[in-house]
Symmetry: D2
Subunit: 343 residues, 4 copies
């Protein structure tokens, strides 16, 4: 059974909702080095994820935090909570990889990054994931003149190609982001990532489009999604929100209601049938409540898609009539949101 | 009858809505130098403003565009359209003042700027305005090292003080903005403007808070409003929207619904009783429709204020419970917006 | 003789410097609608350009401002000033094209845009330009939901392809920019533009990389340049500076010295041999002085390239040693800049 | 002996250079949770700081990382390395204070924050510091509607006033910053902080102006400095650099050479005589080298101040002649930088 079929089965009864398992972790940053709450193992996080009624799938960091947890244990925990692993996210952005994973200047560390991803892919196979997520957060540079850009590009492209060829039965989804933790990242926008994928010359690499990364990077997420879909490369999405100046990973719909709805419209009406996945970081919020809120809003967006008058909207867009197009979109959106909040 | 009483009379039957008369003008920019549409005189613009049902007051550029139009003509046009002039906006940011109005290095040009404002104040008296709006758009600098900042500050403070003392019966409202047309402006934030007003040592100068300027400048507009109100200095507001990176002057509520509603909440619940005024620039949209849309959304915000459960919200805010506070605010907002769009 | 050869001849004695002729115009914006100075015809501007000692080539707006000026007149004026037209910039971003040139929803206006570019290409042939510059400043959208993004993309790609095929002997260089005058533009980044050029499937379309657009769009200009060069698509560049939040078109090197030097290094060391061209907008400065300053700084960058120790730099970059790489770059840069300022 | 006198003594032989001791620590962030390098105690960090030749003073986090280290031990370590503690920085932004220090909704946690600062002040007295630095990084909010802004303001103002009154012999310097770790901070700009200090009504509270915070917050740091100095409230500064979109804490002068030099000029020529202090975070760089580089550049700025022709500059600024002013500043700056790099 192909990945695609698996997703479809999940989606038979409507949209499938997922979350990065780190949604249910606690966090540290450079100030609260002692953490925003007590540490949680991946098993703790799965336990919490299981409390979110509409959540079906999760993306799992690997090695499973905090280490020393077996794939079997994770499988059991998922099964007990009626969850499925949609993806595995190898952590090749930790301290060892501070100066880069695929782009590390030290060949040994670079090799360790590739090996770590390969090992995670094996685990992903065991778990039956749809894709391995690649988030090369440390691959980039911090200062003017620090790096040879062609070299960074080649190292990145070569590493992903090598992995894709080593695991032809798996899909790899690159999550792009303008920056953080590096000041500048190699895979920084949808268009750059699509160009890199071309350079790889393989079929099983695509894009994971994170709404917040796109917004923060100055893209219109709906437009970025259409661009990746048009090239058959939109493998996955993440949803969240921010204030446009940083990857705040806030709860879906807490700031940009219209643009998030437009993103859902672009995906849905292009026939995209993947999982609607949260990438929220509730630093100071209850993660179960935050997930419920995010999914509740995503469900309202899906209901709003049912209310949207496509014919009217197409006419307004054909005329590029901003006022009319917004009125049509808002009518559907506000109706659905009002129903949602009234519950 | 005081300014305050006049506003109150207007507000007896609910919120009073206004607009900068430039909302109904056409525009040029550095690319479309031939203009986004045929030029319109202030009389044309008043004619269009009169077509917007809920619009009661307008802020008028002076000299009345394109020049050669008398105050009497404008008064008649306003009366014919059942409109009132709430403010006059002297144009001391045109070509002559390219290097500054109050801060112009040429004493003669600086004097011309002050005189122009004074002349507009006389016109304002005739029109019975509530305030003279000061928007020193060319007062600032463009390059590192170009200006002596203390000098710019003093020239700005001194000019406004002089005007305020010359017209003790009038109010002057400074509209701050981070930049444009200068790369950096003297009155760039609410807090800087409040400090400058202190330095003036007069009672009849306050702030005009433009929602979009505040948002674009990295402020939370609701917080900025509260700060100015707490000091008794919020003389007027303008509403619009943008993508946070520039003063796009888009239609109210086209992007930031929650933050605009929060701004209305902050103003209303602090007992602020001024006019709810549009500062939209419909470059490519029908200005009458754009104004109707903006006012329609503002009315929905006011209705939402009626639905808002203050007690619940106060509790959520006392606990800084973001999820609860957003839920409470959204419930009221979406209900009102859905009603509004369903009409 | 090919474009490339022509450029090379110009460059025999070192770098060739150019400028958009608008550098010597005066400007309007939405506030100073009466203009930052008296209007200047293209002939006036050429006269001023001729006063800049090191300036060899200019990019010319067409129709020649303010209209009614013949190609012969312009040719004569250029010859009299020892200048050459390197490019022609058709103005399909004026009032008529407010809702788009290539993407205009009205087929007639869209056709008029294409025709205007075609007519400018004929003029370009007569002038012997190296390329026709395409700057589709009005091609994009302003509001969420306003546009069908796939449609905008197709209209843009189709129009440029049509033009490229109609003028196979000419080159077309697309100048990308994130926004302004539209809130969002179709050709917004180097990678998006490269993808669009692929979709066109023609050989004579490339990129014009404006340093300021790249910087403002969150790119590292040196990296963007390398990406376009690697694909053989960097047809031209423009240089200027800004505060990263807008296309301020300030004088070269007034803010970002190191990143501009890195841009020059990336171009030069990749063997790029085009013209080093100014796109400054001296709103309030003397344009001749501004051009001299910009070119003076560009000459210092070229001298610094002579001082740069490539071997040391390559080693530092191979190790991604930011401190060492900056030290090496700064040593060369500061020496050249100090010499330049000491003159 | 007053704080002022102590600083002056240090400065007898020229500028005094300092650093936050965290410059010599290692860091974690939300991705590299295992850290960018092995943990270092404050004693390790002092050891490293001692290797930086021109470093005279340090600002010390308290409780001394990682805890369990006595003031006597720190005093000895400082003495052994010929360093002096210029300030103490109480860490009321760790996990316990995730929802705020002075603004925490839980009265007990808020009291703990105040107590922690008070305890640090006692330690500061023992160490003979010039000021207690207040950096209320967790004091703010993350979501629209989350907080009552007047309440946050009052809690912040009241807490600092209470501390200032409890330690009338000490100075307290508030370090403002637009955001991080909270999405929005209470003390977000120089002007807001000055207004808050007014509201406190005490004499021993001032501002610590971090160059990068100011730049990132959209201020011109030189202008912000002049504003604080004019009110007698600039107690301290920190220097670093960034890409304007985040608090990158890069090495001084790695991006914004001119604006940093302008900042030094503004401070120096206003007669400000404090310590020139680094707040760099060398995540992936050698901290000793990074400090040497930063101080080397600061020394070049000071030398450049000696070369700067004040008369010429004053004339250029009086005319707001950007080209002339930049030329004058660059001549001095590049000469000093070239000398510095040539060594």
């Amino acid at each position: 059974m192909s990945d695609r079929e698996r997703i479809k089965i999940h989606g038979a009864d409507g949209p499938v909702f997922g979350a990065g398992i780190w949604h249910f972790a606690t966090y540290v940053d450079r100030y609260a080095t002692d953490g925003y709450g007590e540490p949680r193992t991946v098993l703790d996080a799965i336990e919490l994820a299981g409390q979110v009624e509409d959540l079906s799938v999760v993306d799992l960091n690997w090695p499973f935090p905090p280490g020393g947890i077996s794939t079997a244990e994770v499988k059991d925990a998922l099964a007990a909570r009626n969850l499925r692993a949609i993806a595995v996210t190898p952590e090749f952005y930790t301290g060892r990889f501070a100066k880069g994973g695929f782009t590390n200047p030290d060949p040994e560390v670079r090799r360790a990054a590739i090996d770590l991803v390969a090992a995670s892919a094996e685990v992903g196979r065991e778990l039956g994931v749809d894709y391995v997520k690649l988030w090369p957060g440390q691959d980039g540079y911090d200062y003017p003149f620090q790096a040879d850009y062609a070299d960074l590009w080649d190292r990145s492209v070569d590493a992903v190609r090598e992995l894709a060829q080593a695991f032809p039965d798996l899909k790899f989804a690159i999550e792009y982001k303008p920056r953080e933790p590096r000041n500048r990242m190699v895979f920084s926008s949808v268009a750059r990532t699509l160009l890199a994928i071309q350079d790889m010359g393989v079929d099983n690499v695509g894009v994971l489009l994170d709404f917040g990364h796109s917004l923060y990077g100055g893209e219109t997420p709906a437009e970025a999604a259409r661009m990746a879909i048009a090239r058959g490369k939109l493998f996955a999405i993440d949803v969240n929100d921010n204030f446009r100046g940083w990857d705040d990973d806030m709860v879906v719909g807490s700031v940009h209601l219209l643009e998030t709805f437009e993103f859902f419209f672009a995906l849905h009406d292009a026939g995209w049938d993947g999982v609607w996945q949260l990438d929220q970081f509730p630093f100071r919020e209850n993660p179960v409540e935050a997930a419920r809120t995010g999914i509740g809003t995503m469900k309202a967006f899906h209901r709003a898609l049912g209310y949207l008058d496509r014919k009217e909207l197409a006419e307004a867009q054909a005329a590029q009539d901003a006022l009319a197009a917004q009125r049509i979109a808002k009518r559907a959106l506000f109706r659905a949101l009002a129903e949602s909040e009234a519950r």
